[in-house]
């Protein structure tokens, strides 16, 4: 057993860290819950420079514009992007669309779509959830009816994050309403400029801007279909198992925690240094232990991937633990700071530029990539073999 990176991996990690520290100064770092003007554009600029170094998709094959390394290097990079609090762009393309295309896309589709993702030239959003469909995703209702060389889409998608910057949507739609629900779904890539697509703004409590996306007789060419018709559900489920180490989310949350510990050690509140309180010490130690375990569970997933396995219940274990412990951290940090913790980043009185108030809102993101209950179902049914 060996928990160390190889020499090459270690120096890669240090290179990434050093580059990001230089390129993303504190005033440009993404604070939880605050959307600064121009942050997205800045994030794209940084991503382009990372792409030029072949770091952005370091785990992808070189012919697709990647760095030709493996899942460990990709996880190292993702963790550093999180820990460096780099304004993040392009994650749907890099995390989901790319891996799906590499497995299910045609050679033409791979050549068309993959290099721009690896080069940070495009932004994707995801079209999975719908107004009536959340955890029961296979019941989705957006229709895609074949009409000659085209598919005609009608319906709507919900919770479309990143949509206001997106060039494409990677989506699931129903192509066979007569088939059993899992077997009538197909996967598509839709150009967001296609006529008939419209948006209704849907601001999130995290500060991000998303939308409900409407499709009104939107005509996609048949070449927009990814993989086999009516196999989209299975393609999507396989794809979800790829980008599952979750180290970016860990890195970002860990940074907030480390900064918070430092703050507690150096700041007075109610007449004493915050961390002098035994209760505070206990809380911080509890979170530290839980976060160290979170990191180990994430690396276990990355390592399984690097050894050729497809993590499934293991990824849900890491994700569930992370979601729960992030919430616990946010709650504990708010308790420790009392009323000061409620101040937003735009208050001059806000500790840590409001990041604790921000992470408190962010920590209520208990649903992305599956609610905690769905992850428990996966662990129990697929992992432990309990009956459905």
């Amino acid at each position: 057993m060996n928990f160390d990176f190889s020499k090459e991996q270690q120096s890669f990690k240090e290179d990434v860290r050093a580059f990001l520290a230089r390129r993303v100064p504190p005033e440009r770092q993404e604070v939880f819950g605050v959307e600064y003007d121009g942050q997205y554009q800045f994030g794209r600029e940084v991503a382009s420079e990372l792409a030029q170094r072949r770091w952005l998709a370091v785990g992808w094959p070189e012919e697709h514009g990647g760095g030709g390394k493996g899942p460990i290097e990709q996880a190292i990079f993702n963790e550093q992007m999180g820990y460096g609090m780099v304004p993040r762009t392009g994650i749907t393309g890099l995390g989901f669309v790319g891996p799906a295309l590499m497995v299910f896309g045609s050679l033409e589709q791979q050549a068309q779509y993959l290099p721009p993702i690896a080069a940070s030239e495009v932004e994707y959003c995801q079209g999975f959830s719908e107004p009536n469909v959340g955890s029961d995703l296979a019941s989705l209702e957006l229709r895609a009816d074949r009409d000659g060389d085209e598919y005609v889409l009608n319906g709507s998608k919900m919770f479309t994050s990143y949509v206001y910057n997106a060039d494409y949507m990677y989506l699931l739609a129903r192509t066979d309403p007569q088939a059993p629900k899992h077997r009538g779904i197909s996967m598509f890539i839709a150009d967001m400029k296609t006529p008939g697509i419209s948006l209704r703004a849907l601001p999130y409590i995290s500060g991000a801007m998303a939308a409900q996306t409407f499709f009104d007789n939107v005509r996609l060419p048949a070449t927009a279909l990814i993989g086999e018709e009516n196999r989209g559900w299975y393609h999507a489920m396989t794809t979800l198992d790829f980008e599952r180490s979750g180290l970016e989310r860990y890195g970002r949350t860990r940074r907030a925690f480390d900064d918070f510990v430092e703050f507690c050690k150096t700041t007075g509140l109610n007449g004493r240094v915050i961390s002098d309180s035994p209760t505070v010490k206990h809380k911080l130690a509890e979170i530290k232990a839980a976060f160290d375990v979170w990191s180990l569970l994430c690396w276990n997933v990355a390592w399984l991937q690097s050894s050729g396995a497809v993590p499934n219940a293991e990824a849900s274990v890491a994700f569930l633990h992370g979601t729960e412990q992030r919430l616990k951290f946010a709650q504990s940090a708010m308790e420790i700071l009392g009323p000061h913790g409620t101040l937003r980043g735009d208050s001059q009185w806000a500790p840590l530029r409001g990041t604790i108030e921000g992470i408190h809102r962010e920590s209520m993101h208990l649903h992305g990539a599956g609610t905690s209950e769905i992850h428990r179902n996966i662990i129990a049914q697929r992992g432990l073999g309990l009956p459905r």
Partner: protein, 382 residues
């Protein structure tokens, strides 16, 4: 990075599982609850024959020369089978203490006896009282060439069925405020030494050991006079990791038991394992077991490995994280086990209660969650 066990460790794990299923079934564990010794001497000898007692002893002292990770893999199986006897105390705590503190002569004389199972030895696992001067109740005074020991040691596991025990005794320095803590290896049949059972949860065998002018020779001291705390610290880390492994192994077994039961127990016309309320408890336990296992492996690896620059890494933080997590896991496994088995696990005849009682002992031994969170806070500079 390689987070898998190596082939040798996989083999050890598999062999240990098969051996203990055959030689130490739960029926034997139940049977031994009422026996005089509290453990099986026959099984003890067989484990010695497999090299388990001397796994952490170097080859030139009669052992198998394994590292902590090897022993961690073994103790997951020991914990799973709840093997009765002072295995953790003898094959880990005492062995590692003597390796760090003993003279070459002592190591080559004493350690082979432990490895072969000819001599059984025990020491205190409970809490930190062993090397904490403030709780000192055993005193050593110079007596001719040797020492006289006077006082009481508590929480000594299997003291009345062990041949030797490793104790810490204090002697006063030139001023009343200076106390030297020294390690002594004492024979149980020494004149003036008596043991009394400390009735404990799950009938776990531990004893109060009284010393009334117990006279020992100069060779009974292990290491320098006053050096106990220094010698014990690394052995304590080592043993704490194995206590975590013991908890992880037993919790995994509890999880298997509740999953199996949930698949077969039918209520409301369906297996209870089809209810999400039951599934989600199992999922939470799976998550906690996986987390504690990773933390335990991480700590074992850290203890085993020196850094790239050749210096020994400090594993305090990793060990504290592992035992804090293992302690929480122990509580969760008990809650989930009793929650899902419900009424039947409240009966003495059901095995679940024994798993949960032993889990409580394991949680308390080698420092509980609160203790290790305090240690962790120190590591964090809080």
């Amino acid at each position: 990075m390689d987070l898998g066990l190596n082939e040798q460790q996989k083999l050890l794990s598999r062999t240990a599982r098969e051996f203990l299923e055959a030689e130490c079934p739960i029926s034997l564990v139940r049977e031994l609850e009422d026996s005089k010794e509290g453990y099986s001497l026959e099984l003890w000898q067989k484990m010695a024959g497999l090299g388990w007692l001397g796994l952490a002893i170097p080859v030139d002292h009669g052992g198998d020369g394994g590292n902590l990770m090897d022993q961690t893999v073994l103790f997951e199986e020991i914990g799973r089978a709840m093997v009765p006897g002072p295995l953790l105390a003898s094959s880990a705590y005492v062995v590692r203490t003597i390796l760090g503190a003993g003279s070459d002569e002592q190591k080559s004389r004493i350690l082979p006896q432990f490895a072969s199972g000819d001599t059984t030895v025990t020491t205190i696992l409970a809490g930190q009282s062993l090397n904490d001067g403030r709780e000192l109740s055993l005193r050593a005074t110079i007596d001719g060439q040797g020492y006289a020991l006077e006082g009481t040691a508590i929480f000594m596991p299997y003291a009345d069925s062990s041949d030797m025990m490793l104790c810490v005794a204090g002697s006063l320095g030139q001023t009343e405020s200076t106390v030297y803590l020294t390690l002594f290896l004492v024979a149980r049949d020494s004149d003036g030494l008596t043991t009394n059972a400390m009735p404990s949860i799950g009938d776990y065998r531990q004893h109060e050991v009284r010393f009334r002018n117990v006279r020992v020779g100069p060779d009974a001291t292990i290491g320098q006079v006053g050096g106990a705390a220094t010698y014990l610290a690394p052995a304590q880390q080592w043993t704490t990791v194995l206590q975590c492994a013991d908890i992880v192994g037993r919790s995994e077994k509890i999880l298997e038991m509740v999953v199996e039961y949930s698949k077969n127990r039918v209520q409301f016309g369906r297996p209870i394992g089809s209810f999400q309320a039951v599934q989600h408890q199992c999922a939470d336990l799976r998550t906690a077991v996986d987390g504690a296992r990773m933390a335990t492996y991480h700590a074992a690896w850290k203890v085993d490995n020196t850094g790239n620059n050749g210096t020994v890494r400090d594993a305090s933080e990793e060990v504290a994280v592992a035992k804090a997590c293992a302690g929480s896991l122990s509580r969760l496994a008990t809650a989930v086990g009793h929650g899902i088995f419900a009424g039947i696990a409240f009966t003495v005849e059901h095995d679940m209660q024994l798993y949960s009682m032993r889990s409580k002992i394991a949680e308390a031994n080698m420092g509980d969650t609160d203790h290790h969170l305090e240690q962790l806070a120190v590591c964090m500079g809080l």
